[in-house]
Amino acid sequence: MRLRFSPIIFMLAYCLIYIAALLWDLPAFLYYPLHGQLSWGPAVVKGLGPAMAWYGIMAEAALVAAILAVIVPDRWFANRMQNVLWTVPVAAMLICTFLMRTFFG
């Protein structure tokens, strides 16, 4: 069997996983810049200073999306979503903006 990387599946899966991780606060790991330490999972370890989730969210989205991009056939998506693929990242960015609205209140 010949494996082929699908950029369409990668983009779709990455956007969905990224938004899901942001929405339900589920990064694969947290980074604590004050001590330069990592902790697996979304639970914040007390006493290590501020935690950063961005690296964990990107890593899990990229890893899972890369696996799906290799194993999921993209013919159905390529045909059905022709010329509307761009709506997915736009929707993801709008959801991000909605989730960040508390900073501007």
Binding site: P7, C15, A61, N83, W86, P89, A92, M93, F103, F104
Partner: protein, 153 residues
């Protein structure tokens, strides 16, 4: 050290901004150039040649941004919160997430600019390029404004 990386990050961002803007304006201008005006010359470039340059510049700009991000988290965001500048923190949060989402567009962006997809995915190609350009401009302007409010020490 972080100041040096911040300067490299800014220079890479300027180069990326120029490349993606040039490609976008050229892609938006459907008509072939007829005169030798500056605008015609600017937009009559081969749009495909920018693709890999944009990918490499986006990747290296994001990488350098990821290196200085912990310094921002400790030395800039905490003072922002103490100064009640929630909007500034929010702008950076959007910069961070838009930048992260932009990464997943890069393989699709390369694929869409291949000659085989010229006819079948014309709208996707233009839209994904415009989205990347929006992300680059947003991240550049927000980074510039926040650095003016409080730069890295």
């Amino acid at each position: 050290m972080m100041i040096a990386v911040l300067i490299v990050h800014g220079l890479l961002a300027v180069t990326l901004l120029g490349a993606i803007t040039h490609q976008c304006l050229s892609a938006l201008r459907a008509k072939p150039a007829r005169t030798l005006s500056f605008v015609d010359r600017y937009t009559s470039v081969n749009q495909r040649v920018f693709t890999w340059a944009v990918v490499m510049l986006y990747g290296t700009t994001t990488l350098s941004g990821a290196i200085i991000y912990p310094s921002y988290r400790l030395n800039v965001r905490v003072p922002f919160e103490e100064m009640s500048l929630g909007w500034a923190v929010g702008l950076f949060e959007l910069k961070e997430h838009f930048g992260g989402l932009g990464l997943c567009l890069l393989p699709l962006y390369v694929w869409l600019w291949q000659p085989q997809q010229t006819q079948s995915h014309a709208r996707d190609r233009l839209a994904i390029t415009l989205i990347l350009a929006f992300i680059v401009w947003w991240d550049f302007l927000v980074g510039h404004v926040l650095n003016n409010i409080r730069g890295l020490p």
